[in-house]
Symmetry: C2
Subunit: 297 residues, 2 copies
């Protein structure tokens, strides 16, 4: 039987895209909030014996978690064979160890909560810093999609003379890979320490890059501070207005406006979090991994 | 060793009250939200080997649950002997069965979530309709406090000539019990059906009650619709402006203003949810039950 695909509020586009690509059926569910702030969940389609796929990207996760877990639990109560989760943006990946004494390792607690109700997870480029893979914290089957190849393709197809920018030496590897696939050069900014507190950021071989369009790439644009600073360095060095690309469009506070005001000519993101800046569609890759994980289930 | 008591944001008064009564220590914790909407939890006091008590009333529960569960998990990660929860208002008690096909039984799912991390639960008058006790849905030890005796005492001490009002026949038993302990009379409104759709509510023996102060009591004042209607019936019958008492001060939307505009002379609640209307203090009862459940742990 074909899987039945449900969207949590705001994820209708993702659910439609997956249903189309997987030949799945769109399930009908009601998820709403009562006046007292509690959530209500009801599944109107018959899910008995069927594979259920829930679509819910997890930016601003705190208020989304109960409705999501309630819908998954309801599906299983109603006899669904299993309930998988497609969360193109996965929350709580940053706190993956105790940086200060007494801190909660929320990535582990969050993984435990989701895994208690959901049977598998498909996501896009989770913020894995100190972990080699999601399976270190998620006991359920997980599949991870990498957006880099599609970002490279977007750059190749949309920017005439791009130069990829690495804001610091840490980013060199990731930026060089995207640049290679895009067939574009890249440069890494240099931090020069002047005295105890002053750090100057310089753009090497400035003259060489004046006719190029700088392209900045980051995984998450949240407050956008690092990217905004980098845009400033490039502009002060006399380079063209850069294009800023993010995988996950969190855009906390005024991040997008600030980025444009700093001098970004364009802000483009992947469609892991619905946002007007979404310009790179990951639907095919998501559908492929859902097919894989469902096939293995 | 004395228990260590932590407050989630907004529950500082409850934590202080319990610490004073139990001779417990107030623990230091940081719970805050990042700009991207994720929560951060850190315990600054040493909890190793100690009983931890978390104070978190659960009105508007969806955004409170992750910080609460994270703090409980952190305490246990840091070696706490156990982590109990004092939630004077317990959320998700209404959806205790499938009223319509396909509905999620959220009271059970919510109980499962809390019980996965928290070791015991103390609450006040949970909205138990079709369940005999909390233990039918909560696998962890639970203790329930009943506010009725303190409401009766408040009425006896604050209202000169009270008459308790039952808005319908279903409420008769509960209202008669409070009235008996308050040493006050009570009356139950009558619904008279006129034709198919029209229902008239009448106040029996109106003349007898004109010099009394009507007192309305309900467990939860959420939108306050029932109470507002009842206030209207009493006013139209020519009775004095009533006093409205609730255990749990949810006050969704404009409930409190609407209640006063309908003709309530006073709105008084127990302090299970911090609110300016709190006039009945349950601190002693809460401390007693925490002592009991901790003693049994």
């Amino acid at each position: 039987m074909k899987p039945m695909i449900f969207s949590l509020p705001g994820n209708e586009g993702l659910a439609d895209a997956l249903a189309g690509r997987l030949g799945g059926e769109r399930g009908k569910a009601i998820v709403r909030r009562f006046p007292d702030g509690e959530s209500y969940a009801r599944i109107e389609s018959s899910v008995e014996g069927r594979a259920v796929i829930l679509c819910c990207t997890l930016d601003r996760p705190d208020e989304k978690v109960l409705p999501l877990l309630f819908l998954a639990a309801t599906a299983k109560d109603l006899g669904a064979a299993r309930a998988g989760l497609v969360a193109p943006y996965l929350a709580y990946m940053r706190q993956d160890r105790r940086f200060e004494p007494g801190e909660g390792i929320t990535s582990v607690y969050f993984a435990r909560l989701l895994s208690g109700t959901v049977d598998w997870l498909v996501t896009v480029d989770p913020h894995l810093h100190r972990r080699a893979s999601l399976s270190e914290i998620y006991p359920i089957p997980t599949r991870v999609i990498h957006a880099a190849p599609l970002i490279s393709r977007w750059i190749r197809e949309n920017i005439a003379s791009p130069v990829l920018i690495g804001p610091d030496s840490e980013s060199a590897q990731w930026v060089s890979e995207i640049a290679a696939v895009a067939g574009a050069p890249y440069l890494v900014l240099e931090k020069i320490r002047r005295g105890d507190r002053e750090v100057e950021v310089s753009v090497p071989e400035t003259d060489r890059w004046r006719s190029y369009t700088p392209v900045l790439v980051d995984d998450i644009i949240s407050t956008g501070r690092t990217m905004i600073e980098t845009v400033g360095h490039l502009r002060r060095a006399g380079l063209a207005k850069p294009v800023c690309i993010g995988i996950h469009a969190i855009f906390a506070d005024r991040a997008e406006e600030d980025l444009r005001e700093a001098g970004a000519s364009r802000v483009v993101t992947c469609n892991t979090i619905p946002h007007p800046s979404n310009g790179i569609d990951l639907g095919d890759l998501l559908a492929e991994e859902v097919r894989n994980v469902e096939g293995a289930a």
